[in-house]
């Protein structure tokens, strides 16, 4: 096993259908029209020397190393910027070219440190390679003249170093920041000899608007921009392709290793979700995997206030098996359950629901999708017949109008956001519907055509108003609706949305937006060409989350924006495997493949496979489990990879529910907040320590590959299997491939999925079966999966959570780029440098009325509870709205959120909480008590001395 070297063709592919024939060094070559000579040569097996060219960036033509001669043309044009032409005869090597290239290289090297042996890039340096390629043997210019050798390094960024002394000013970093990432944080400052790469307004990298995506580091052909881990460890010697464990984009990475040590994560060019791009989390924030807080031995304790005691796996698992048996004997079969996580692999989730159904004998299994995208499953299932997004990410390249609602892609899905921004810079139009002025509204060279800064909780009213305009102004794609949708249902819906009470003018004051904006946005969505809707948790986490998803589905059907590239409905999933967790049957009412537990035909499939009679009634959802615990009928819980005390709403209620249980088992990397209430801790494994698959937001099933052994000795799927065996189940899996084979054998949409296929083709999007052996990038092509698309009436029902004199502001919560979910991983990395605490965003007017200044401590009080944090005054939020993140347990934003939830799925209403904000001088009573409890409950007893 060695490093994985992707071929760099120098310039991007042309994409043209027309072909051109030419000769390169006498060889006949045929390539698409518009291809550069450099790329054509590479495809013919001829490598033209280059420095400023790389195929992730548009040709630039600055380094003058890739010169070629073309028969019949004068001069020596750059092969990167010169397109092929029919009949062209190109020579890539001649005496003149050799002299020119050597001269160019000699000048580069004359102002470059000759410290190759001690340079961190030694062995991975394109400048070094090109010096060899052009046969440079001497540098005639000494270093007495003006040079750049003494310049100071910029070490401000925790993950990479910028050494300007080694810079050849090829602009690859600047162009990567612009073209790939879309941040435009870098520039070439000065002219001629004074030219230099500068971040922001010539600040250090950390202080600039750089988002640390790593694109510049990856693009740099020298050691000018290089990972600190490579400086510290050295060059990697082998690599394994795997999938990022952060957000729902599901980027493919090369985990580049030296022995068993991870040197760096490099985005994989052939990864179909990310095409070689990355963000600060996936690229750099992997230090948690080896953090000192990792727990690597199983632990037990009798009381949650007592110290933990390290025990053997056998003792821990035996204890859980006995306790669960005792609880079921005492309190009934339904007194225990399990929670799986969107951070788990598909195979782990499949095993947990199998353990619950075939081992516990009930359906008490749920997943954290309950608190994020469960309304997506219900809403899209009702409208289209499949509980998933309709497109692949590549579809954005053919999109003319993006409608982004309740999503903040630049923070939560940054790699896909870069692709959105690229398409927007190419001319696509943008509608943003969000209470906050998210970065996408105004970002370099991108401005939203319309930002509908609606009042939190009014999504349904605004989407129905958009539909009103589309219907009443005759913008419906009637042909699509007549052929693809239930016509009677459409007519009832059209009559409903056409009512005057749904007009923009009627909705404007309720939503706090100008009626004209709503009308213009609706017209653009309906008439602007291929229109796609991208949405996130700002849609789902409401009491009408499901209705909002249905309203979105209605818009796409009414305008015929479904069933082809460039359009569709695209839920941006929060965590890496939200889609997969739902697919794998982790909801309490359905088996893998979204089949209800009461469906006897499906049940029989699993009964035959598992050799056990299965329960027919739905189990408890997460909030119901906690409620039942409070009632005294739910006593035992196995939680893998989830931290419900921090992530779920109404923290005090969650904590009380857990405290009422007799056996709480937490399987995780760290003693998280939920482990404060646990009796058993099972040490889990990181994504680097196990095999499996994740399914991203575009239904893409991607391989997770083990690059190092599990620190606890067992991968998570092995722990679940060991627990099942301790409970008397005869499970004998030896590799997750066997688990996926079982999924394929029982679940029609996965019938064609196997590790062999994934290893062969890279990844596939479900459905993958006999009808679609290599997967389905775009769904509902030709016809909607359920037969005829179903329009739902989307009557607006105001949230019960309303502002008043006591609680006059609306709190909405979300994420930030550098942190991930509850922060268990990212808080244990240098990402803390960007976000060391949660802050409350408050509008200047609201702050002034309360005497709150920037950085002041404020108390946020709701009906559920109160917390304190520091204020950030900004007009990014509208008057009357405040916003915070939930990444830090010290803040615990969810102490404030309430138990209001979606009508269909009980997805919590995180996005609407009525609060009051007031100045304070310290933590709340809850925070003080919680800190004391947390400190007391994490004590690990010293191991007894060896005899």
């Amino acid at each position: 096993m060695g490093l994985i070297q992707e071929t760099d063709h120098g310039t991007p592919p042309s994409g043209s259908a027309g072909m051109v024939s030419l000769t390169i060094d006498g060889m006949a070559v045929m390539v698409p029209e518009g291809t550069s000579i450099m790329r054509a040569a590479m495809e013919a097996g001829v490598t033209v020397p280059k420095l400023c060219a790389t195929d992730s960036l548009a040709a630039f033509g600055s380094c003058r190393l890739c010169l070629v001669e073309i028969e019949g043309r004068s001069g020596t044009p750059a092969s990167c910027t010169t397109p092929v032409a029919a009949g062209m005869a190109v020579a890539t090597q001649s005496e003149r070219l050799k002299q020119l290239r050597r001269g160019v290289m000699e000048l580069y090297i004359s102002d470059h440190p000759l410290d190759c042996l001690t340079c961190a890039a030694n062995g991975d340096c394109e400048l070094q390679d090109m010096a060899g390629a052009v046969g440079l043997r001497e540098v005639r210019y000494g270093d007495e003249g003006a040079n750049h050798l003494g310049q100071q390094k910029d070490t401000s960024n925790p993950y990479f170093t910028f050494d300007p002394a080694k810079c050849i000013v090829c602009s690859r970093c600047v162009r990567a920041c612009e073209e790939v990432q879309g941040t435009f944080a870098l520039t070439i400052e000065g002219r001629g000899f004074a030219s230099k790469v500068a971040a922001g307004m010539d600040e250090d990298f950390l202080a600039s608007e750089c988002v640390s995506c790593g694109a510049c580091v990856q693009a740099c052909p020298t050691a000018t921009l290089i990972e600190n881990s490579v400086i510290e460890i050295g060059q990697p010697e082998h690599a394994v392709v795997t999938t990022c464990a952060y957000c729902g984009v599901g980027c493919s990475f090369k985990a580049e290793m030296r022995g068993g040590e991870l040197v760096r994560m490099v985005p994989y060019k052939d990864g179909r979700a990310n095409h070689g791009h990355s963000c600060v989390k996936g690229r750099f924030a992997f230090g948690y995997a080896t953090h000192r807080d990792r727990i690597t031995r199983p632990m037990l304790r009798a009381r949650t206030t007592g110290p933990w005691r390290e025990v053997s796996w056998e003792e821990a698992l035996g204890h859980v098996a006995r306790e669960f048996a005792r609880l079921q004997k005492t309190h009934g079969r339904d007194s225990i359950g399990a929670i799986t996580s969107s951070r788990c692999t598909n195979e782990e989730t499949y095993l947990i629901q199998k353990l619950v159904r075939s081992g516990f004998g009930n359906n008490n299994v749920d997943t954290c999708a309950r608190v994020c995208h469960s309304p997506t499953g219900y809403g899209l299932g009702a409208a289209y017949g499949t509980s998933a997004g309709t497109q692949d990410f590549d579809s954005v390249e053919q999109c003319d109008v993006m409608l982004v609602i309740g999503a903040n892609p630049t923070d939560a899905h940054p790699v896909f956001a870069s692709r959105m921004k690229r398409r927007l810079r190419e001319g696509a139009r943008l509608i943003v519907i969000d209470p906050r002025r998210i970065d996408l509204v105004h970002t370099p060279h991108v401005s939203a055509d319309f930002h509908l800064a609606l009042r939190p909780g009014t999504n349904v009213a605004v989407l129905t108003a958009l539909a009103h305009v589309i219907v009443t102004e005759g913008l419906v794609d009637e042909n699509y609706v007549r052929t693809q949708c239930d016509w009677d249902g459409f007519q009832a819906w059209a009559d409903f949305v056409a009512e005057q009470r749904h007009s923009p003018e009627a909705v404007a004051s309720l939503a706090g937006i100008d009626a004209g904006l709503i009308r213009d946005a609706a017209r653009l969505y309906a008439t602007g060409g291929n229109a796609a809707i991208y949405y996130g948790l700002g849609v789902t986490e409401h009491s009408q989350g499901t209705t909002t998803v249905m309203a979105i589905a209605n818009l796409a059907m009414a305008t015929g924006n479904l069933g082809r590239p460039g359009v569709g409905v695209n839920p941006l999933r929060g965590q890496n495997n939200v889609q997969g967790a739902c697919d794998m049957g982790s909801f309490p009412h359905e088996y893998p493949g979204y089949r209800h537990v009461s469906d006897s035909a499906t049940r029989e499939i699993f009964e035959r496979m598992w050799h056990v009679a299965l329960p027919t009634e739905p189990g408890l959802r997460i909030p119901n489990m906690l409620d039942a615990a409070a009632d005294g009928t739910f006593k035992g819980l196995y939680i893998e990879g989830e931290d419900i005390v921090q992530s779920d709403p109404d923290t005090a209620h969650v904590a009380a529910g857990l405290a009422a249980m007799e056996c709480v088992v937490v399987q995780d990397l760290f003693l998280n907040e939920t482990a404060d209430y646990a009796h058993v801790f099972l040490p889990g494994s990181t994504f680097l320590e196990k095999d499996g698959t994740f399914t991203n937001a575009e239904r893409r099933i991607n391989r997770v590959r083990r690059v190092m052994p599990p620190r606890s000795g067992m991968a998570d799927w092995e722990i679940t299997q060991a627990l099942a065996r301790a409970m008397g189940l005869d499970w004998t899996y030896t590799h997750p491939a066997q688990i996926m084979a079982e999924v394929a054998a029982t679940t029609p949409a996965f019938a064609g999925v196997s590790y062999e296929l994934l290893d062969r083709v890279g990844s596939v999007q479900w459905p993958c079966n006999e009808a679609a052996p290599t997967g389905t990038p775009v769904m509902h092509v030709g016809h909607i999966a359920r037969g005829k698309g179903r329009f739902a009436i989307t009557d607006y029902v105001p949230s019960e959570e309303r502002t008043g004199q006591r609680f006059p502001l609306l709190l909405t919560t979300g994420r930030i780029l550098s942190q991930y979910n509850v922060g268990a991983q990212t808080r244990r990395t240098e990402n803390l440098r960007w976000h060391e605490e949660d802050r409350l965003e408050i509008h200047p007017n609201d702050a002034e009325m309360r005497g709150v200044r920037e950085g002041d401590w404020v108390r946020v009080q709701s009906r559920a509870g109160a917390t304190s944090l520091r204020a950030h005054i900004t007009d990014r939020v509208a008057p009357g709205v405040v916003y915070t993140t939930f990444h830090h347990p010290e803040t615990q934003a969810n102490v404030v959120t309430t138990d209001q939830s979606d009508w269909a799925t009980n997805c919590p209403e995180y996005k609407v909480t009525a609060v009051q904000v007031s100045p304070t001088n310290g933590p709340t009573d809850w925070q003080r008590r919680y800190r004391a409890h947390s400190a007391a409950s994490r004590h690990v007893a010293a191991a007894p001395a060896a005899e």
Binding site: P375, G377, Y378, S387, N624, A630, H653, V797, H933
Partner: protein, 96 residues
């Protein structure tokens, strides 16, 4: 340990179950077809664990205070539900 929430509720709390049933009813009551009570009952059968349904039936038997008319009609249908009947024989309900 921090004190339990003063608002600690159990899943069998009638207030909470009534609120959930009414929320479901408001959605289905707005749909065309005149099948709202049946659809609400189906939804509850599909997604509510038996303990929750049993608690709702107890509350219903005691007068069903707080239930809106459609929810009340739906709970009456639950009262006559045959637990052995396959739900999937009726029009499919989606996941969630």
């Amino acid at each position: 340990m921090p004190r339990a929430s003063p608002r600690l509720r159990g899943s069998m709390s009638p207030d909470k179950l009534v609120m959930m049933a009414n929320q479901i009813s408001r959605f289905f009551a707005s749909q065309p077809g005149g099948q709202a009570a049946r659809q609400v009952a189906d939804h509850i059968l599909r997604f509510w664990e038996p303990r929750m349904r049993a608690a709702m039936l107890v509350h219903f038997a005691a007068g069903g205070v707080g239930l809106d008319p459609v929810a009340r009609e739906a709970v009456a249908l639950l009262d006559h539900h045959d637990p052995a009947a396959d739900l999937h024989t009726r029009p499919a309900a989606p996941s969630g």
